[in-house]
Subunit: 134 residues, 2 copies
Amino acid sequence: MKRGCRSHCPIAFALEIFGDRWTLLVLRDLLLRAKSRYKEFLASEEGIATNVLAERLRRLEEERLVTKSRPSGGGRQFVYRPTARALDLLPVLLEISCWSAKYDPLTAAPPAVMRRIRKNRGSFIRQIRQQFAV
Amino acid sequence: MKRGCRSHCPIAFALEIFGDRWTLLVLRDLLLRAKSRYKEFLASEEGIATNVLAERLRRLEEERLVTKSRPSGGGRQFVYRPTARALDLLPVLLEISCWSAKYDPLTAAPPAVMRRIRKNRGSFIRQIRQQFAV
């Protein structure tokens, strides 16, 4: 079995790879907020610590969920982009969002976005994928 | 904000409630493996420690994802059952399973079950819900 992988039950497998609170928030930033720079992740409202962020990005790269590259136009800041494996996590993130929008009375989920997701999840996902298409 | 809730972003909210590795494995056991007794959760292949299990079940009750009751026919062992809030997590668990079934070459996800989920997720969910209908 791979590293700390406790079982190959599909839930357990996924949790070993991205089932960490901060990892999922970084994936949210990458996939749903189109963030791509270290400083942008650091600025998220949950207040991730810089060492935690660095470690999580490193792990995401190692798990082939994220690529890290120099910007094509030059510049010093790395650009982080989700891979196909990460884009395939969009349905998971959207289902989590739907659950919270239903049960959190103070939810920050925009009602118009949630309606779009509920009405046609497939088209919502395709639209996000297009942003990352090469 | 509720307790340690870092933001009301729907992803962050959900992670505060069930975004803990062990919590999600207990939810898997409750929802997808029809386990309902302490000893059954303890016996899962990931080897949860008894104190961790007790704490997670307590939290799940506190978050109104689980009810704990004495068996109707008498007996000493408590029966744990998922609430409506927990049943609404089925889409999240199924999307996680689909992702792992795709990316884990050693997946233990039964192909026939995964085919059923992919073909008609709605009917798969309804069938599980029926097991818990009063």
